[in-house]
Amino acid sequence: MKRLFAMLAGLLFATVATAQEMAPDVLVRTVSNDVLEIVRKDKDIQAGSTRKAVELAEVKVLPHFDFAHMTRLAVGKDWRKATPEQQKILVDEFRTLLVRTYSKAFIEYRNHEIEFKPLKMQPADTDVLVRSVVKQPGGKPVQIDYNLDKTDRGWKVYDISVAGVSLVTNYRSSFAQEVSAGGIEGLIASLRAKNKGSEAAVAANKQ
């Protein structure tokens, strides 16, 4: 058991280490192919276990996401009104919400084929767009784009858009609405309530 754990930790470390040097398009492609492969094999995830999908995302996907950046983008100009503690809570709550949404999307679209477009990138670029297309049988292809920027911890995703709709900036006006109605605390309360509600739904689903 201990040996297995050490081996797993070693593997994880190896993936993280190589990810730092990986080109952004290779990174996104590798991660999404790995995840899809697991999703397609995992019976629990296919049966709709959001908890299991979230666990998978935590290990495989989330290390490559920059949630602080995402939250800043979604909160927009109200970000500066938040105290550092509030900012930290906002990042945590928004992270939970995004992870759930993203995991759900992966489950729903697991049987579809993903095609990555060639990346146009200069060596000096620090902000790139990785484009992919999900082909659904009997439906129009759906464009999925990843915005990444180069940090000292490697390339990190800071926005994902599906069919031209950004999962991050799509919250901007509803967040602004929450802040104007109840201040930063109001926004935090709404996010918490939303995340709690989803948890309850997941718990009910498991029976």
Partner: protein, 226 residues
């Protein structure tokens, strides 16, 4: 009814709403009506459709309508000054109508002829028309003023909707609606998971999506107000 609409309008003014959505109160009313209709009729029909028919058949149905649409996509590509796209669209229609047996098989995509997504609303956008205020239309759902005008043209040019034989026309339109709704079933669950307020989530997604389409999937990134 009118009083309700007026109250809705006033309600919309009272909240510190979105600049794109001046009649939010009214729109929310129509949105709730559409949601009710969807839950009661359209979504169950789409679920049944998905449960009963195998993927091959559903793909065939969707391809059939997609083929008719290609003709009008071609017209719009031309109107938007994209003749190369228009040629592709026309070639798609010709190959799929013949080798693809009335459009049931999308042989053109297999030949590498890419499908485009164009409509009159996008054409107006390409010509420089502003989207205008956001509207929620009964049954048709989210639009902006520009797309609502486009929708009128889309409908008047729609071959299935203009057939003289009423039962055929109604059947074709209903099947198309259900087929399109079925492809959106996965999105339902994602929106439920994602949205703090479904109305504004759908509105903002619609506005972003249309903006993206007008720029053919490559809109300039909006300034990040940080």
């Amino acid at each position: 009814m009118l009083a309700g609409a007026m109250a809705g309008l006033l309600g919309g003014c009272a909240t510190a709403g979105d600049a794109h959505d001046p009649i939010e109160g009214f729109n929310r009313g129509v949105f709730a009506f559409n949601e009710g209709l969807d839950k009661a009729v359209i979504q169950p029909a789409a679920k049944g459709y998905e449960a009963v028919l195998p993927t091959v058949v559903r793909t065939g149905v969707s391809n059939f309508y997609g083929n008719i649409a290609d003709l009008f996509i071609g017209v719009n590509s031309l109107l938007q000054g994209k003749p190369a796209d228009a040629v592709t669209d026309a070639a798609r229609f010709i190959f799929n109508s013949t080798f693809g047996i009335a459009g049931i098989f999308d042989v053109a995509s297999e030949m590498g002829l890419e499908k485009h997504e164009e409509d009159f609303g996008q054409t107006f956008g390409r010509w420089g028309a502003e989207p205008g205020p956001y509207l929620v239309l009964p049954v048709f759902g989210p639009r902006d003023v520009r797309d609502a005008a486009g929708l009128l043209l889309d409908l008047s040019a729609d071959p299935a909707g203009n057939l003289d034989h009423i039962p055929t026309r109604n059947t074709l339109s209903a099947v198309r609606l259900i087929s399109e709704r079925a492809t959106l079933l996965p999105a339902d669950k994602i929106i439920e998971e994602a949205a703090l307020d479904k109305y504004s989530y759908v509105r903002d997604a619609y506005l972003q999506r249309r903006r993206s389409l007008v720029f053919d999937g490559r809109p300039p990134r909006e300034p990040d107000a940080e």
